[in-house]
Every structure is written in C-alpha cells, then in structure tokens.
C-alpha cells in the first residue's frame, strides 16, 4: 500500500531545494539573489498548490538564467542552475495544466473507487474529511445499494481514503 506523502514531484523538489537554500546557504548580502529566491519560492508554492499560471514558468525560467549572472556568489549561481535543471522536467507544464501526476501535490491529484475491488465497507467515507464520498454500505439481498464514488468537485486530494481502504480499491486518476 502506497501513501502519497512519500512521493515528491519535480516542482516540489525545486521548492524544497530553494527553501533549504533560503534557510541555510543564502547570506542576503546582495540584492538580486534574496529577492529572486523569495519570488521563486512564491511561484513554486503557487504551482504546487494548483494556482500556477503559464507566466510563472516564464518568470522562473528567467530567474534560472539571469540569476547566474546577477547573483554575487557561487551559491546563488548554483541555486539558479539547479532551478534551471529542474525546469527541464515536463512536470512543471503539467502542474500548470492542473495535473501533478505523482500524488505529491494534493491539489493537483484526484482519486476514484475501483468498483470491481470495492467491498462496500464504507471505511473511506468515514475517513473523508470533505464528505466527498457517496455510497451506502453493502446490505445482502438488497438490490439498490448505491456504490461508493468520489465526487471530484468536493475532493481535495488528501488521500485519507486511500489509507483507510482495506481492499486497496482506491486509485489515483491524475
């Protein structure tokens, strides 16, 4: 059984790298590097929470190329280069389109119940904090049991249902 928190996508990796740089490597004694880092972190936060726009990708690309010249020390330069390498991944564009694809960004991840596997125990419904799962528990001999389904518009991708399901009947769809 896999849990989503162990997975990390390319934008999150870039975000973590910059956060680590901001907390540790960066001195803040030149003007461009701290601002660029702060702005990049803000953009990556938007992207990984589903609010990213195509223009953010252009801005990030600009930081990654220009900060190499503009930063004062090799640390800033290296941070810019790393960002540039990360940006080569197609995952960034997909995030902006609304799909994380790895399960790392909850806001960009959705699940569905696999009807063939579902035992209709209702554990997922109990676990769902957003009341996003509809369905009735299985009662023998009743013909109109409502099967369990996840309402995508209510779901925020937290994956609690995945963890709760004893039958491994919930899968990621984006």
């Amino acid at each position: 059984m896999s849990t989503a928190t162990e997975v990390i996508c390319a934008p999150q990796q870039a975000l973590e790298a910059l956060r680590a740089f901001a907390a540790d490597g960066m001195c803040g004694r030149c003007i461009p590097c701290p601002i660029a880092t702060r702005q990049s972190i803000a953009m990556l936060e938007r992207i990984t929470s589903g609010e990213g726009e195509a223009v953010d990708l252009d801005r990030l690309t600009r930081v990654s190329t220009e900060l190499i010249d503009a930063a004062r020390c090799p640390k800033g330069e290296e941070a810019a280069k790393k960002l540039g390498e990360a940006l080569a991944s197609p995952e960034f564009a997909r995030h902006v389109e609304g799909i994380c694809g790895s399960g790392a960004c909850a806001a960009l991840t959705r699940y569905r119940v696999i009807p063939e596997r579902c035992t209709m125990c209702g554990a997922c419904q109990e676990a769902c904090p957003r009341d996003a799962i509809e369905g009735d528990p299985f009662i023998a001999w009743r013909g109109d049991n409502k099967p369990y389904v996840i309402r995508l518009e209510k779901c925020d991708g937290c994956a609690k249902c995945v963890a709760a399901c004893p039958a491994d009947a919930i899968e990621r769809v984006t």
Binding site: C30, I31, I35, R38, Q39, R59, R62, A70
Partner: protein
Amino acid sequence: MAKEITLHIDGQPVTVPEGTKILQAAESIGIEIPRLCYFEGLPASGSCRLCLVEIEGQSRLAVSCTQRVKEGMAVLTASDRVLRSRRFILELIWSTHDGDCTTCEKAGACDLQRYTYDLDVDKEKYGLYAPDEIPSDLGDPLLERNLRLCILCGRCIRACREKSQGILDFMERGMSTIVTTSLNRPLAESGCDFCGSCIEVCPVGCLVERDRKLRGREWEFESVETLCGHCNLGCTQVIDLAHGEIVRTRPGADGYLCVRGKFGWDYLSSDDRLTAPLVRNGDSLQETTWAEALARAAEGLAGAGSVAGLVGPNVTNETVKAFGELLATSFGSQDVGFTGGGVPFGALSTFGGLKALAGVGDVEKAKKILAIGPSLAEGFPRARLAIKRAVDAGAKLIVVDPNESELAAIATLHLKPKAGAEAALLTAIGKALVDGDLHNAEAEGVAEAIPAIRELGVPDAGVSPEAIAEAAKLFAKGKGVVVSSALTCDVLSRSAGLLMLTGRKKGALLPLHPSANPWAGVLLSAGASGDGAKGIYALGTDPVAAGEPPNADFLVVQDLFLTKTAEMADVVLPLRAFAEEEGTVVGAGGKLIAVNAAAPSDLPANWQILADLADAAGKPLPYKSIRDVRAAAKETISAVKGSLAFPSMNGAGDSEELRPYERFELPEPSWVARSQIRRGGSAAGVSEAKEEVAA
C-alpha cells in the same frame, strides 16, 4: 606616480591610473554605468549588481564598481547580456518596492526611477511582495524612514559608519533582511546624531526629511549654495527652495552637515522673525515705517553724545565693516565692541595672524592633535569627524577634558584636568616641552621666551607629571593642531603658546565657535567696551541674555527676533539672517570665504540698512554697493591679519586670572518643538506665537 593603464570601454580607448575601478574609468570618458549600491566617497560593497559589465574573453560578467582596470581590457557596458541582467535586477527590486512615483518625494531625483525609465523596465514582472508588517514610517523625528521603499543597497549603513555614529546595519538575514538600527530601535534611542548623512546617499525615497514633505517636487527646487552659519567650521550648505520657501538644506561639495546645518534652518522661516521696524511708544514697542524708525534711531544716537556699538559673531564681514563705518562716520564713535556671545576674544588679538588658524582640512591631515574642551564632539560634529578621520589615518590624539567622551575613547592620551585647570595644564605641557628640550628652538620668538618658561613653577592641574611629560613628548613633532571648544582667553593663548614652542605657525589652531564669523569683529572693529557711552547700537547680539545689560540713555537693537535686549530698546530694526546675506566671512582656516544670500528675505541687505541710517543721520557712508563694502572690509582685514603676534607662555596670557572653567552649553536640537509647530496642532501653536510677538 601610479602606473597608467590603457583599456577600451565600449570601443573607446581610455587611460587611467592603475587601481582605478572600471566604473570610474568609464565615468572619466562620460559613460555612466548604472549603480545603486556604489556611492562616490563610500567604500564599495558590490551588492546591487546593477553595474555589471561584460569583459571580452571572460565568461562571467564583472562588477564594475569593485573590479580594477587591467591593461588591454575590452569592456562592454551596455551589451545585450548586460542590459538583460540589469533589467532583471530592476524587475526584482520592483517586486519588493512598494512605491508610487506620483506621490513619492524622491521622484525626479531617484535613481531607481531613472533606471526604470532608461531601461524601460516592466515593474510588474514579478508582482509585488511587500508584507504588511514592513513599516512605512518608523516614526523618528526629523527624518522619515519608509522601509517599504528600501532596496537594501546599504549606502546609508556605510555613510553612517564613515561620517557619523555607525548605528545602521543589515538586520535579520536572508530574505527578511532590513536596514535599521540594532533591535530596530528608534534612531533617537540608538545614538543617532541626526546628521542626515544617510538621507544624502539613499538612492530612493526611503529616507526623507520630514519638513520637505508635500512642499514641492524635486524638479521645482531652486538651489543656492552658501556656508552653514551655525558654527565657524564652515561646511558648505545648499538651501533648496520650492515656491519661494525653504524646504530643505543639504551638504555641498564636502558632503557633510551636522544636525544644526542639516535641520537647523527653521528659525529662518519662523513666524517670530522681526519683519518691520519697531519704535518705543511709552511702555510698548510699535511697528512703524523704515523711514520713521531710521529717523528716530539717527536722532537718538546723535543726541546721545557718546555712542558705542556692539556687534555679534553671526553677520558677514561687510555688515561688521559697514557698522563700524556707520558709527565712525555718522556718529563720530570709534567705540565698536565685539560680542562673541559671552566668549572672550581677547586672546585672538595676541594670536599669530590669520594664517595660523586651522580649518577642518588641516585637522584631517594632522599627525598630532590636541583636542581641548567640553562637548567638543557633540557640539562640533564636523570637528569630531575631522579628528576621527585623522586618527583613522594614524594621527595621535591627546584629549583634554575632565569627562569621558567619544573622542577620549579613541585618544592616545586622555588628560583629565581638575575643574577650570585646562589652561594650567597647557602651561604645564609647555613647560614640560621646554624642560625636556622638545621645543623647536629655531622657531620665531622661542629663544626669548625660554628663560622665563624655565623659571615658571609647574601649575597644579590635577594631572600627573608623567602624563604631562608624555603629552609633551607626543605633541612635540609632526604636523600638529590644537582644536578647542574651550574659548577662554587663557586656553586659547596657551594653546597658541604651545604651537609657538613647537614651531607650528600655519593652519595650527582651530578654536570652535558656534557662529559663522567669530573673527570678523576682532579684525574689523576697534575693540572697545562701550563703557560710559550714552547711546548704544547692538547689532545681532543680545547682551541682556548674556547677563551684561547695556546701560544707555538710547538703545538701538537690530536683530532677527525680539530679543531680551530688543525688548528694552528705543528702536528695533530687523536683521537679515546669515543665510540671507551676500558677503564674506573669515573662515575657520583664516581665509576669506564668500557666502551667498541663499534663503529668501524681504528685508533690505544689512549693509543697506546701515547706509540708510547714515543717510538719515545726514552723514552718508562711502559705499554705493555691497562690492564697495566688501573691498573696504577686505582692505581692513588684510591690513591687520598678519600683524598679530603669538603670545608668550608667560606674557599677557598669564597676567590674566584663570577664570573658573565654564561649560559651554550647546543649543539643543529642537525637533520636538519643531514637529509640534509644523505638524498636528500647528495652527494653534503658530498663532499663539504670533500673538506673543504682537503683544
């Protein structure tokens, strides 16, 4: 002679001395490389990166404000790559810069604004990230710090360190760095002396004088340069006017003003200024016309029989000259006394000529400095700066001050005489010089003085003989100056004596005085007491406040305000302030310096008022214009300036009794009063003040 280096900048050849920075080399051929953190005269920090240039054959861009020229270098200051990088940096700065040029005071003189325009920068490229908790006004008196505009260039930090108290720094770190005082305390609690040096270097509108706010845009300012009139160190001062009113003062070429020069101009536009003549009518003074007032003054003085004049230290040579001439020509009096605001000036009449006076330049170049007197650093910040610079350059400093002080902290030797014993201590040092054979035997007048000095007993100054001997040894050789804020006759004459003994005759003595032109009276007036005169004319001086009320049948007072003396006068005439007068002064270095009428005034020039009074008395002055007065003043000064001799150690100076040591009180920077007048509740404050004057 430094080696010359030849390089090419944007294709143009340029030859500069080795060690020159690329940015300066470019400037020498008229190419201005944009910069935000670099400021001429401050150490470079290389932090804003705006001055990046491309050097052929180098993969990295180079920081032109810190990188030195190399032979054969080919520099591009505006290649595509350079421009891209500059725009990028400016876009980033705008993403943290919560400013609006339409209302910003700095607009028109702002480097960020200019570069943004020049490079057509997209201000919104990265949006705006300026958290609400960044304050837009830290609430300090006199100057506003709006951290929402700060671009962290660090110039103010370096300016404060180089010129003043060094209280600013980058605080916190990384992405939340701000520029402020330690623990972000208010300036007034951080040791700030409100010199405003930080304002002068800020490239944006983060640091702004409160008084100028909403009073005009930069491009509306008219600027006139003159000298600051608040002490005799003579810092150049630019006065900016908008719509005919003073809105700001700032340093001229030498780049420094102290709090008085920077912020102490409010008195000029004070509502308490005298604007029309007043004449006595029974118990009260009533406003009248110039003609009436001058006629009354002329008649009263002429009728008094004997007339004496008193002139203060804050008027031009021309005013002093015209004043002396008026008394002599029109009222037959040679009796013009000079009042230095309670400071005795007798010492200077026995001092070795104007060329012996030192200016700040002499102090900065000195190798040995003897700094005497209380509150020297606080009262005369420009002198403190000069002394600090000299000490940084390796000068030895001897401080004579009973108290601990900022200068004592950096002194090689700190001598603490007992109260009132400064002069005695100087005598003791002089004797130690002679006894230790450290004096300059060849110097003029020394040989004759030596026998008497050897005979002298050592006066008790409360300082150990060892310390005195050490002081004598320290001070004996090298370019040396005496800087003194203790302006007693005894201290000055003994200081001059020490300089004589060590053979220092030029640029050696700097007596500090809180007025612009303290020597003019000594040089231009006959120097009399006014004792027994029945008519007295006091110009720019307030003997009543100084505790010496004039005893006269007829009193004319000419001053800026209705002073205590003016209140008892028969005729009161308004006076133009120093900043409002064209003329000359005898500067700190003993040179004649021209000053301009930088601040506006509706009054006639002071010499003109005096000439009109002479006309009213029926005995006109021999001057047609200010130039005539200037020529006459110059002639008198030239005639006397070299004829004064050094006093001897045991001569005239010693015959005077040592007077108790008087602490020299400095005017407090009055920002509390100012801000109350200027801001909230202003209307009430001002009209009350007006009523007081009218009453």
